[in-house]
Amino acid sequence: MKILICISKTPDTTSRIAFKDGNTKFEENGVQWIINPYDEWYALVRAIELKEKDPSTVLHLVTVGAADCEPVIRKALALGGDEAYRVNTQSDDSFYIATQIFEVAKQGNYDLIFTGKETIDYNGSSIGGMVAEMLSMPYISLATKFDLNGSTAVVAREIEGGEEVCEVALPVVVSCQKGVAEQRIPNMRGIMSARTKPLKVVEPAAAEALTNITSYELPPVKAGVKLVGADNVAELVRLLHEEAKAI
């Protein structure tokens, strides 16, 4: 069994979101970078669990990004990846990034490709679906449970207003979210061994970016809270009904 896990770096969830250069660039100053939580907690950890059940499983990681992604990818190796690929290019266009992952994926003959359901910065939720289409593989999005039964994947996925369970023969691309696994912390042995695990840098394939970010905006600031006394709940109802017209 060979599994490819797509890893992205994202700002820590507590990062202050600010922009520079006339609101055209994200202010990275003072930002802590982490593995995108959906990639780490769910996709990667589930893959590690599958390897623990079947030690012959091989876990490859792929990230598309510049050299500043390496600490994050080393952390993913420390958690339990076997080797990693970094495609040496930077982009925020999902078609371009998916094309790079596709190039890595088609050479590796993977049985299973995991992504997180989205990154918490760009919130694209596009990479898995695109890579699947490029590889002509089925795609299961928003998985909440993942199991293997021989060479069949048994997956629960979120659908509008509920959940569905489905089965599909490998290979398949799956986007993972809460429920698939539980967060883990890397141990010392993992951290030590990660240093010597292969991290291969590959140059990008020729591809076009089909979108580009022209600027950013912050949401308008709230006017401030109107407090109502706990003994005056009727007033809150009146405000919600008459002023906010929300009920």
Binding site: A98, G129, P138, K178, N212, Y216, L236
Partner: protein
């Protein structure tokens, strides 16, 4: 140029998120001086001509029963064929569970630039710039799409549905449907409840409710308001509530008209998932709770006392109006 909107339907009925996408697509067509058409797959129980009320002229229907079950790969394949057939240059989806599953595949198939989580019509004064939600609701990005075919996936609850007059022409399309490799073995719907991402009002509970046995007061309030229920992450992690109710940066992102937070502190990761809500009400016994800074209305008080009173007062107001 023409606009093509994907209509998501379940058990034969068109969903609210799709009506938003239809209205958006109809308005986009007006803005660009072109026509809007829709596509819908599988067995449909509704009168499709009525979708003309949302500003579209044609509905392309691929009726194959094989499309009654959703499979992202199959749907992407069929949609790509309809895009080709109709020569559409903008394809609109709702960024709901179905849209998230299928829109990227279509983008890859027809080599389209895609913007997911769009919150407004594109600005076409200089390119084709779509505003989308980023950093889990903490900011917006304006994204230019430069490819010939463009795909927009619209965030639910960010575009108002407007039904006017008009009838759409229904065209039965005969498109070959590839065989699905996926076998669906079970479907469980949360029946009777309002789906979280589509809800106008969301009532959400945090650790301040102390335990799952106390959710009755929250459910009564939600029931009175026809609201969906949600919770903070630790509540879902402790299995007090199901995972699909977890809102925030690492859970569901919602943008209802009204979000009522009960016993939730308002951590930055929680706010990220709810701060696109139009009106936020916070009830928390700690006046220093960070949530008050993001709220429009608040009560500093004990949820166990305040919430039942709130439900009562709302019932009174509903009876009077």
């Amino acid at each position: 140029m023409s606009v093509l909107i994907f209509i998501d339907q379940a058990e034969g009925h068109v969903k609210k998120a799709s009506l938003e996408a239809l209205t958006y697509g109809g308005d986009l067509a007006k803005q660009t001086g072109t026509t809007a058409e829709a596509m819908v797959f599988g067995t449909v129980a509704e009168d499709l001509t009525a979708l003309g009320r949302y500003g579209i002229s044609k509905v392309h229907h691929v009726s194959s029963a094989a499309l009654d079950h959703f499979d992202a790969q199959v749907f992407a394949n069929v949609i790509a064929k309809v895009v080709e057939e109709t020569k559409a240059t903008v394809v609109v989806f709702s960024h709901n569970q179905t849209g998230k599953a299928v829109a990227p595949g279509v983008a890859a198939a027809v080599k389209a630039g895609i913007v997911t989580g769009a919150v407004a019509l594109p600005d076409i004064s200089n390119g084709f710039v779509v505003k989308k939600s980023v950093f889990s609701g903490k900011a917006f990005a304006n994204v230019n799409i430069s490819s010939e075919i463009k795909i927009i996936s619209l965030n639910p609850n960010s575009y108002k549905t407007v039904a006017g007059k008009g009838m759409a022409e229904v065209i039965e399309l005969n498109v070959p449907v590839p065989e699905s490799k996926i076998k669906i073995t079970a479907v469980s719907k949360v029946s009777g409840e309002v789906p979280l991402t589509e809800a106008d009002i969301v009532v959400s509970g945090g650790r301040g409710l102390k335990g799952p046995e106390n959710w009755g007061i929250l459910e009564d309030l939600a029931h009175t308001l026809h609201a969906a229920t949600a919770c903070s992450r630790p509540v879902a992690d402790s299995h007090w509530r199901p995972h699909h109710e977890h809102v925030g940066q690492t859970g569901v992102q919602v943008a209802p008209n009204l979000y009522i937070a009960l016993g939730i502190s308002g951590a930055i990761q929680h706010l990220a998932g709810v701060n696109r809500s139009k009106t936020i009400v916070v009830i928390n016994k700690d006046p220093e709770a960070p949530f008050f800074k993001a709220a429009d209305y608040g009560i500093v008080g004990d949820v166990f006392e305040v919430v039942p009173k709130l439900t009562e007062e709302i019932k009174k107001m509903q009876a009077a109006s």
